[in-house]
Amino acid sequence: MTRSHRLAHRAFWLVLAFAVALGFTCALALRHSKGAEVPGQAAASER
């Protein structure tokens, strides 16, 4: 890999790790507080 590609790779993974970790934590924290069926996921739940 070129030097610039390695730099982009390192930066990309840092940003991705932070964004997904944040999203995953929120999804985990909020799922138990979900009271009623989320309308948009009605069919998914049925699946």
């Binding site: 390695r6 390192r10 990309f12 993974w13 790790a17 997904v20 995953f24 909020l30 989320v38 948009g40």
Partner: protein, 350 residues
């Protein structure tokens, strides 16, 4: 390595690799369905079978993508994983087809119940895009599937040569984005419906594992990328000739510069670009096999003397001037035109 393009350059290693891969996918699907049937003792209901096959293929695609993304950093950290890298593209194409099957089973689920409009409604319910819980997670999966398709469609060496290795490698970094989208596809999809603790545990462990490997390998590369200070005339010190392993290389780099692989083959020392012409693989981590510098990734070969691939191949690498000064090998970090003879013969090593 080939002088021309073929659909697939089959060899024994690739056949074994693909056979093991297909067997592993089939075994996973069968075990998932069997365990699922055992857990859901009332699986005579066709709806549950449909559900099982959707989840079997979906989880299989996620495991395959997790594996693909782990191979790169694992091979950087431990050479024993290099054989897995050799045919990684077939693993990627297989992942796309497994994910496509997962997608088709979902569409089929809606089609068989005459509810295709519900699926379209879920994806096009624009107000839901403003929510976090309730976000149309299907869109994340569809986007990831599209990226997987792009990766699979451009995985052939034709596209690698057409786009050039730096552009091709940059394009294939989109796979990381696909992985992030898939994690959120699961976190906002099945993880919200199924409250079993195993789902977040496995999902979190997979993501932490892959991310940790990439960050660890990246940290190690960062240390190497710092480079070394050049002498007043701009030359870089490599070290005594015998400090370069026979049939192997030492990698050096000027500050802010690209890496240079300094190889030794008995009494001959040569410096080549560390970037393989094929996929920009780390040539300096390869060995000299049959008299040629051999890339550890896919076995592309170059002559040490001039950086040219042996006939009938036509790839050429940039070479670098070398000199012996006070018993130390030094390299000029300014590259010579690809294919320029520049190797040094050290009679004292005879």
């Amino acid at each position: 390595m080939s002088a021309g393009f073929r659909a697939v350059q089959w060899n024994r290693r690739k056949l074994i690799y693909d056979a093991v891969l297909l067997a592993a996918i089939a075994a996973y699907i069968l075990v998932f369905m069997a365990v699922g049937r055992w857990v859901l003792s009332s699986a005579k209901d066709p709806a549950e079978w449909d559900d099982l096959r959707i989840r079997a293929f979906g989880s299989c695609a996620f495991i395959l993508l997790t594996t693909i993304l782990s191979i790169g950093p694992l091979a950087r950290l431990d050479r024993r994983f290099l054989p897995l890298l050799y045919n990684r593209r077939h693993l990627g194409v297989a992942t796309f087809f497994v994910a496509l099957t997962h997608g088709w089973f979902i569409v089929d689920w809606f089609l068989s119940r005459g509810k295709l409009r519900d699926l379209v409604g879920e994806v096009t319910n624009w107000p839901d895009y403003g929510k976090f819980i309730g976000f149309p997670f299907e869109t994340l999966g569809i986007t990831a599937l599209f990226i997987l398709f792009l990766m699979a469609a451009t995985s052939h060496d034709f596209w690698l040569e057409f786009l050039t290795p730096p552009v091709w490698k940059g394009l294939h970094m989109a796979l990381y984005l696909a992985y992030g989208l898939l994690v959120m596809h699961i976190a906002l999809g099945v993880m919200q419906d199924e409250h079993h603790w195993l789902i977040p545990l496995l999902l979190g462990a997979a993501f932490v594992g892959v991310t940790g490997l990439h960050l660890l390998a990246g940290h190690r590369e960062r240390v190497l990328d710092r480079g070394t200070d050049a002498a007043s005339d701009g030359w870089l010190r490599v070290g005594p000739p015998l400090s370069i392993p026979d049939k192997g290389a030492r990698i050096v780099a000027a500050r802010g510069g690209e890496r240079i692989a300094v190889f030794r083959d008995g009494t001959q020392i040569g410096a080549l670009s560390n970037l393989c012409a094929h996929q920009n693989g780390p040539l300096g981590e390869g060995k000299i096999i049959d008299g040629c510098v051999t890339c550890p990734w896919h076995g592309y070969q170059y002559r040490l003397a001039d950086g040219c691939a042996p006939p009938p191949f036509h790839e050429k690498l940039a070479t670098y001037r070398l000199r012996l000064k006070a018993g130390l090998v030094e390299v000029d970090p300014r590259p010579l035109p690809p294919g320029t003879p520049a190797a040094l013969s050290c009679a004292e090593l005879a």
